[in-house]
Symmetry: C2
Subunit: 397 residues, 2 copies
């Protein structure tokens, strides 16, 4: 079978470049917050640390988060401060942070409460940990807001049905689908009255907007740095407040019977060191930029609100989710486009293709019933141009 | 607390470069196999995909391993062929691949058999999964070879003590400490006679030497691509043969009760997509180089054997582990250096410092009782120069 790998065959893995044009306006909802800063020095740091274990040149304790050259130790402390949480660990993705949390705080067959707008990784993390999910319902269209009033009843029902209270309350801070920003006041009150840890997934908030985990009432927060922290993938963040740090960041206790080895400097739920090498350095290099950009969050919200309104003004386009919108993730019902696709020879693909022809990128090919996009980091001019093109497309068919 | 982040304070995260000189000879045992290929086109691909979700531009099915532009789907198939295993998934590190395997194939309180030279991540993965470890002993110094004769007895003892057979046999193909290469014939025979899956950790073999998982008798193999596949970190590989693929790569089955969402395209033990973005592209760009380099494995072994012998010829230096050595990881007992450190004002640090002065890098600072290094990828001239310097150090004190 190895004969397959001729020079000609392997050509397909050589000289690969990203197949989209650099000067396109990219509205892709999962890509907007993960673009690395437009700063050649960030790229230089990344290139410098591109080899495998590049961050481990001066490791003294065998713990990634204690390395001081480069300042990975400081970075961990500062990421915790940045999110106003007690302690932080980098992880290879938000999903790993979610699973570590659920796995550490539950046992199989326990029940947890999850908001019904959670990302798929929350469901899969719970499934992998073998726990049952009870969902916080939302009120459906057009707002898709979560019904927190019912949470106390859910807790009581779980107690009645299983004899135990739910092991954690999981809330998605900003949902991936409608970009709804949740007020956490009510749910954190309920969580703490019932002594249940509140886990808040900040995949679409940490790195985009200023966050105080403590003000949000979080016991644990998770973040996706390749989604919202201008970082390369895979990169996530797990933030934990006392006393849950003692459980989630518990160190290894086993002693190998025969070889008598112990691993006290390794944290079980992190499987030891999490993110050696270039990704951590990408996060570090992005950090000063991210600190600056969250200060401009109000502008980002204004741009999203402008865009929402301008799209609706085109007619037969309706923004779904909260209004006025508080986040750059925007989902629209778009009968205006669907009507065109019904008659167009390229069917649902016409919209993607028309946009691409006009150097706009990131709308899912084939979809016209609804579209989802992000205005994050776009200039006002870019957004006005996009509105112009959407308008032109509607009018030309 | 955010006031801490002044421009001056954040300066420490800017313009960071790797604090070792490029023209040094790097003998660091965990870094040797993870250096990306010396090919500007590889770096160009990496830079091109540096933004967060850069590989997801043309994702159609929501599965990373099914993306065809760039050819991530082909890469998965070809990685399986390269290792002669049925199927492959990229993971954010070998430890994640190990944990997925143990978690999928065991239940808490089960027992597994692990070789006593396994890496710490194997122990921590088992600890996280809540399973008990019974170790295959080794015969101690100077060879540190595993005693496979005892494995059948261990299986019987576990059956007697727990009423169940061990759920898996875990063998480290090449151990991290002595660089011993294990013959798997005996243990794979025992595993299959007892119908117990054999998991082989190829962290130090896959990407360095030609591997046929099927000839090794593996049911599962794990690999560290930032350790041995010329790839940036974090990157690992999970290779599974039938019928275990159905368990380890099992798809999500839950249906969210309220929102009626299902996630059938997501694999539970992988938490869905594992490695979006730049790391996967680094692996892809390295792949043609790795296919070529494993063909030169015999030369690498010759260099290691030359180096071992030349070091021993310096006097009071003894290579630990198998002889003649079959791998580039070399550990030496070095009374020659320890004697110097006893009298040297810099104590154990003298060796590190003397080597660094002579542009040799990668020996753990402070250690002189034993030293560990890798000859992987070094030219004959470099290795001869290193021997010369080691000799000069011994003679000058």
């Amino acid at each position: 079978m190895m004969n397959k790998f001729t020079k000609g065959y392997l050509q397909k893995y050589r000289n690969i470049s990203r197949d989209i044009e650099e000067n396109y306006i990219n509205l892709h909802p999962i890509q907007a917050g993960g673009r690395i800063p437009n700063d050649p020095k960030v790229l230089q740091t990344i290139i410098d640390f591109i080899d495998g274990y590049s961050t481990c040149d001066f490791c003294l304790t065998g713990k990634l988060n204690e390395i001081s050259t480069p300042p990975i130790c400081d970075l961990h402390e500062d990421l915790a401060i940045f999110c106003d949480m007690d302690s932080a660990r980098l992880t290879p993705g938000c999903r790993q942070a979610q699973f570590s949390t659920i796995h550490a705080l539950t046992s199989p067959n326990d029940t947890i409460i999850v908001d019904s707008l959670a990302h798929y990784t929350t469901y899969i993390s719970a499934e992998r940990a073998g726990v049952n999910i009870v969902e916080i319902p939302h009120n459906g269209g057009p707002l898709y807001e979560l019904n927190f009033d019912i949470v106390s009843d859910l807790i009581q029902k779980i107690k009645n049905n299983t004899g135990k209270k739910p092991k954690l309350l999981f809330l998605t801070h900003v949902d991936y689908n409608y970009g709804n920003l949740n007020d956490t006041k009510e749910i954190s009150k309920i969580a703490h009255e019932n002594d249940i840890p509140l886990v808040i997934n900040g995949a679409y908030s940490i790195g985009r907007m200023p966050i105080s985990g403590k003000k949000l009432g979080a016991d644990v927060m998770t973040a996706s740095l390749h989604k919202s922290f201008a970082s390369p993938a895979p990169s996530g963040l797990l933030l934990v407040n006392e006393p849950y740090d003692k459980i989630i960041f518990k160190s290894s206790e086993i002693q190998s019977e025969w070889s008598k080895r112990t691993f006290h400097n390794k944290e079980i739920e992190l499987l030891g060191c999490t993110l050696p090498g270039v990704i951590t350095m990408g996060i570090m290099a992005a950090f000063p930029h991210v600190i600056n950009r969250v200060k401009k969050w109000d502008d980002e919200v204004k741009k999203a609100q402008f865009f929402s309104k301008a799209m609706e003004n085109l007619g037969e386009i309706y923004q779904m989710g909260q209004k006025p919108h508080q986040h750059d993730i925007l989902k629209f019902e778009t009968p205006a486009f669907q009507k065109i696709s019904d008659k167009h020879p390229r069917k649902g693909f016409f919209l993607y293709e028309e946009l691409k022809r006009n150097k706009i990128w990131g709308i899912q090919p084939g979809l016209t019933k609804t579209i989802k996009l992000s205005t994050y980091g776009q200039s006002w001019d870019n957004l006005k141009y996009c509105i112009e093109i959407f308008s032109k497309i509607i009018n030309s068919f």
